[in-house]
Symmetry: C2
Subunit: 277 residues, 2 copies
């Protein structure tokens, strides 16, 4: 494990967190200039090791609930979970991790929900992982095409195989088994990217910046469209699927909760209002 690399990557995540939050506040101000919104910042130190984490959450007029969390943690993975993390048995459970994680649930049912996270982990081996995926309440072909086209363009600048490979992983991962339906329209998801530190970091930076470029356009394109209370209720029901996915299947959520992570930070991904009929 290279400490210099860890500092470099975690500094990038911190920078990205700021960029994203500033842009989202700008969008809120454009939408409702007389009702200023901002992020609440909560910092904490993990109880299970050393490090520092920061959760930023905003309840706005466009962003009904958005969380942008960064975490820097080093510690020891308990024996029962070591076989689930690459290289953790060889490191006797020792690990160091830094990451950024974002989930946005939007007030308008015509603006898709989104998830993005990228991370850098070391056990006895070191790798990058992450991705992004979009969950529209109502499918828009225009948005879907734009979303995937921009991701592909960004991936192609790094490796011509990335988009197809990482899109497939996302399609398989963001799928509700018990309902036999996808969570949304997918995106990309990658793990164990470790062949070239500089190149992998550069790609990981691209994922973050591409996310911001894509999503701010999709939000601005749709946020002024009129919607009905029927559509809002349908959004609440659709959000139930998001909850089901995160609590039944999402590996990060389950791992975080089982290893005594910060419950509020882990469950920042939960939608603000949900209905089950």
């Amino acid at each position: 494990m290279n400490n210099k690399n860890f500092i470099e990557v975690s500094s990038w995540f911190k920078f990205l967190q700021n960029e994203i939050c500033q842009e989202f506040i700008k969008i809120e101000n454009e939408f409702s200039p007389n009702d200023k919104k901002g992020f609440i910042h909560k910092k904490w130190q993990p109880t299970t090791g050393n490090g520092n984490c920061e959760m930023r959450i905003m309840h706005g007029n466009v962003f009904e609930k958005v969380g942008v969390n960064i975490s820097n943690i080093s510690g020891v993975i308990s024996e029962e979970f070591r076989n689930k993390i690459k290289g953790a048995e060889e490191s006797n459970g020792k690990f160091i991790a830094t990451g950024i994680s974002l989930v946005a649930h939007m007030n308008s049912p015509l603006v898709p929900a989104v998830h993005m996270n990228t991370r850098f982990l070391s056990t006895s081996t070191t790798w990058f992982g992450g991705g992004m995926d979009l969950t529209p309440i109502y499918y828009s072909e225009k948005d879907a095409k734009y979303f995937h086209k921009k991701i592909k363009e960004s991936c192609d600048q790094h490796n011509k195989n990335y988009y197809e490979k990482f899109k497939k992983i996302a399609d398989e991962y963001f799928f509700l088994n018990h309902r036999n339906e996808p969570r949304g329209i997918g995106g990309i998801f990658y793990e164990y990217l470790d062949d070239d530190y500089e190149g992998n970091l550069s790609f990981t930076k691209s994922v973050g910046l591409t996310f911001l470029e894509i999503y701010k356009k999709i939000v601005r394109d749709n946020m002024h469209r009129k919607w009905t209370s029927y559509q809002k209720r349908y959004q609440a029901i659709k959000r139930g699927r998001y909850v089901e996915f995160n609590l039944l299947q999402d590996k990060g959520t389950k791992f975080g909760l089982m290893t005594n992570g910060n419950v509020d930070a882990i469950l920042m991904s939960m939608p603000p209002t949900v209905e089950w009929v």
Copy 2:
């Protein structure tokens, strides 16, 4: 496995389902005589074996959402889950099961939510299981004392050890590990009760009838009390814990979803409206 016993027990569950639904409709009529409510009945046959199931669901003025389901299923448990069910490896996965399951989420935040289920299962061995537990939004010592006192009286008529033993199981089971907090005020929970068919059935009948006696009183005692929108919102947040418990921990929910059970029937336990801050 004794087919005669199976028919006897499943007939009891069918009878109990009717009794409960009639009583709940009576309560709705008392509360709002000019706005009649009733249960929607949905019958289906399990896709994973033989049998017949019936889900009854009501969206009322007192009962915001209540489901009372019965299921009668025989089939083969897939190899990967056999080690999780007593006697299933010895029976080559063959099983027969009958049960009743009830969850009520109440409109008033001053009326507790409740869960009750009882069941009879055969693999290479045959047993009764079930229980009930109460989830107040706001704790009421009067209700809590009454709830536990009545359960104890009922248990004591069958076996002087039951209440203490089964209360302990409920306290341990209905506990959110990641939040380090109980789901509600507990109740009783039993499994693998197989020492005496007649006695165990008699106890299982008591659990169902005692549930109905207790809960109808708690509902009537509290349903006319005035509540505020603040209390209603707190209820929605508290319900988030119910969702977390059922999707992260509840064995019946996870088992049902993993074995391709009827998703609507399994997730009938989900609260109608939920918030995460």
